[in-house]
């Protein structure tokens, strides 16, 4: 027990939780806490330029490290600026604790200066929230907050702390136990369910694993790989799961979904058994739900019981931690294999999948004198691989994000950090800053769009001044590309408000103004040299890669269509020599 102010207690609590970095911006209602920071703490504070940036940094930090991210903001606009990042963390199950200042308790509800009902506003997008008005409740609230954020299905929580609680003095000790009688996430799996699943798998002729972000959250990549190899099961891996299984693994058939490959979508739709692990049958993957994988039974592994059976009935639900579930499954499958005299012959299925993969690779048309966005991404991939760089990729949202998903190679989890569920433009740059804070040893590269870059580029100043160097490659086509694609295909080319121009702003100049190195490239000949210069600069660098504005993202499952009816790059003037996969 030590006598101290609430503000100091906040920092002592963060330290007790093992927090090493937090991201935030000070303000009136959180000033006592910032004074406590000034008086000394082991937690590093990274000063962002917008609270949304701080929130996305906390997310990037959490995704790259597996730890809980922490964002700090003041009341009123500070809290409301965090809302987008909180909603993003909610949709993608990213564990972050957001601490916001609140006006003095006696002013709450009076429309005081910079007062907002932060807990009310964020209620639908947090796992839980706390409004602390009595300083004595503060340590338990923070203990509970971290616990809720990281246990069960990870996600965001908010702790709103009244200014007078921060300024009050009390006897602090950090609790050993959480006080959450209603919070009991599963810690075990039902052995009987796992055995049922193993039996179904052993008998399936055309099984496919459908793995996603939940595998990474569960730290279950090793278990997934063991399962794939022990049972020789093919797998498709979603956008959020990229890296949970090495992209180079021959049984990894890549991403399904709206802009995934035809072969991955067919693998799911033509299977007789879908082994879903850490995924939620999102509409971007399923397309028209009633037409999705009609012939498949479904085994659904997830820690969140509410996801199992939400979109697609689970014939065999297995609720519990994936790490346990997948390792038990592998064990059961090995037992079954030892018992059986004859195993189901899947040679035809494997041959079919390989044939589809060979027939329908990702492809784009190269044109003389025009830099293609996919080329930029391929060169980034190949250059970093040849240099054995330990790369963490982040992206914005849009066409460039889909191309990054299609063409980048990720071999390890927590190396592909993107906004999937909420699809937040502007996520890329701040998430990269957060990832770099988590992994200073890694090369952090943000593949961004020009539209996205304009939303959060001021965080480059944070990267420069906080010495968190990142490389940003802007796939600059001068348009809000994905929106323009939809307008082209579904709104009879009526381009409403999607043209940004390539030159305004001058991105290289903007980067220099923000204390970074700026580069521009608009042709293939100079591409490698420019990318290398950025990678080797040792500072935060921005590459303005000016690409073909007409390039559309294929393949594509049109809205409302079945994912099995995915549309490929239209065939006209197809020159086999110029197509590269």
């Amino acid at each position: 027990m030590t006598r101290m102010l609430g503000a100091d207690a906040i920092l002592r609590s963060l330290e007790a939780e093992g927090v090493e970095v937090m991201f935030g911006i000070p303000g009136g209602a959180i000033l006592p806490t910032y004074d406590a920071i000034a008086r000394g703490t082991t937690v590093r504070h990274v000063l962002a330029r917008h609270e949304q940036g701080a929130g996305h940094m906390a997310e990037g930090y959490a995704r790259a490290s597996g730890k809980v991210g922490v964002a700090l903001a003041t009341s009123g606009p500070g809290a409301t600026n965090l809302v987008t990042a909180i909603a993003d963390a909610w949709m993608d199950s990213t564990p972050i604790v957001c601490i916001t200042g609140q006006v003095r308790s006696d002013l709450i509800g009076t429309d005081a200066f910079q007062e907002t009902d932060a807990t009310g506003i964020t209620m639908p997008i947090v796992k839980h929230s706390w409004l602390v008005q009595d300083v004595r409740e503060l340590p338990q609230a923070l203990k509970n907050a971290f616990h809720v954020a990281r246990t069960g299905r990870p996600g965001p929580v908010l702790v709103d702390i009244a200014k007078d609680a921060q300024e009050a003095e009390f006897d602090f000790s950090y609790p050993d136990e959480v006080d959450l009688p209603g919070w009991k996430p599963p810690t075990k799996v039902h052995e009987r369910q796992v055995r049922e699943a193993a039996k179904a798998i052993a008998e399936a002729r055309q099984p496919i694993i459908y793995a996603g972000g939940g595998v990474i959250n569960a730290e279950a990549s090793a278990e997934l790989l063991a399962l794939v190899e022990a049972a020789r099961l093919p797998a498709v891996v979603t956008l959020m799961g990229k890296g949970c299984l090495p992209d180079s693994h021959p049984l990894n058939y890549g991403a399904p979904g709206m802009h995934g490959s035809k072969y991955a979508n067919w693998a799911l739709n033509k299977s007789d058994l879908i082994i879903a692990a850490g995924v939620r049958f999102d509409d971007r993957v399923t397309g028209k739900v009633s037409a999705f994988a009609p012939g498949a039974k479904v085994i659904h592994f997830d820690i969140d019981a509410a996801e199992v059976g939400k979109i697609r009935t689970a014939d065999i639900p297995v609720v519990g931690p994936l790490k346990l579930a997948l390792s038990h499954l592998t064990r059961e499958l090995k037992l079954l294999e030892a018992e059986k005299e004859k195993t189901v012959d899947r040679t035809a299925w494997h041959a079919q999948l390989q044939e589809w993969r060979a027939l329908y690779p990702y492809k784009y048309r190269r044109t003389e004198g025009v830099l293609k966005p996919q080329t930029v991404i391929e060169r980034l991939r190949d250059l970093t691989a040849s240099r054995n760089e330990d790369v963490i990729w982040t992206t914005g949202v849009g066409q460039h994000q889909m191309w990054a998903m299609q063409y980048l190679q990720c071999e390890k989890p927590r190396t592909f950090i993107t906004s999937g569920g909420l699809g937040t433009m502007g996520y890329g740059v701040p998430a990269a800053v957060g990832a770099k804070a988590a992994r200073p040893d890694a090369t952090v590269i943000c593949v961004d769009g020009d539209g996205c870059f304009q939303m959060t580029n001021q965080e480059l100043a944070t990267a420069a001044l906080e010495r968190l160097p990142i490389v940003v490659v802007i796939i600059n086509n001068g348009w809000l590309g994905m929106v323009r694609q939809w307008q082209e295909l579904f709104y009879a080319e009526r381009y409403a408000e999607t043209h940004l121009t390539k030159q305004v702003p001058d991105y290289a100049l903007l980067a220099e103004a923000l204390g970074c190195a700026g580069f521009m490239v608009d042709n293939e000949d100079d591409l490698d040299a420019t990318l290398l210069a950025a990678l080797e600069s040792g500072r935060t660098s921005v590459v303005d890669a000016r690409v073909d504005p007409d390039e559309n993202c294929y393949p594509m499952v049109p809205a409302g269509a079945a994912s099995v009816d995915i549309i490929e790059l239209p065939d006209e003037e197809l020159d086999p020599e110029r197509i590269v996969g």
Binding site: G120, M123, P124, L131, G182, A305, A306
Partner: protein, 163 residues
């Protein structure tokens, strides 16, 4: 369901229902035998979303301690209603007699109208409402049903008219 008796707990439940598009037909909340626990009784429309799905979402809320489905025949349910009915002098006796059949008390009486108070199974309240409607219902307030699981394996008590 049993909820922690903490600020915002009720708001979180109704918020979650609204967000997920689950239709609440009635809601009653109040204290229980324990001061730190509230009981919330909801009538939910399960035509669009299954009860199982709704229940699973409820369990994700930190303040929710227990969720129990009250199935007909396995639970005791009661509701209270106040009904103000037009009651001119010549119809008054008839109305009061009708009320007696249902065990409805006259809570208040005026020159042209009277207010019934009725407690019973929700279906009895529905029936009473139907019967007084031709007399002209001025105002109606229902609490929403509350319920508890039946305590034992005996067959349920036949419902007496007196609460």
């Amino acid at each position: 369901m049993e909820l922690e008796n903490k600020p915002g707990a009720l708001a979180r439940v109704s918020q979650m229902f609204a967000r997920r598009g689950y239709n609440i037909q009635s809601l009653a909340v109040g204290p229980t035998e324990r001061p730190d626990i509230s009981r919330l009784t909801l009538r939910v429309d399960c035509s669009e979303h299954s009860f199982e799905q709704i229940e699973k979402q409820m369990h994700k809320l930190v303040n929710v301690l227990r969720v129990v489905e009250l199935r007909p025949g396995e639970s005791v349910e009661r509701e209270l209603a106040l009904i103000t009915v037009g009651a001119p002098a010549d119809k008054r006796a008839e109305l009061i007699a009708l009320g007696e059949v249902f065990g409805a008390r006259v809570a208040d009486i005026g020159r042209e109208a009277l207010t019934f108070e009725i407690v019973g199974r929700p279906e009895e309240l529905d029936a009473f409402e139907e019967l007084v409607r031709p007399h002209g219902v001025r105002e109606l307030a229902r609490t929403g049903r509350i319920g508890l699981r039946r305590p034992g394996p005996r067959p349920p008590r036949p419902n007496a008219a007196v609460s």
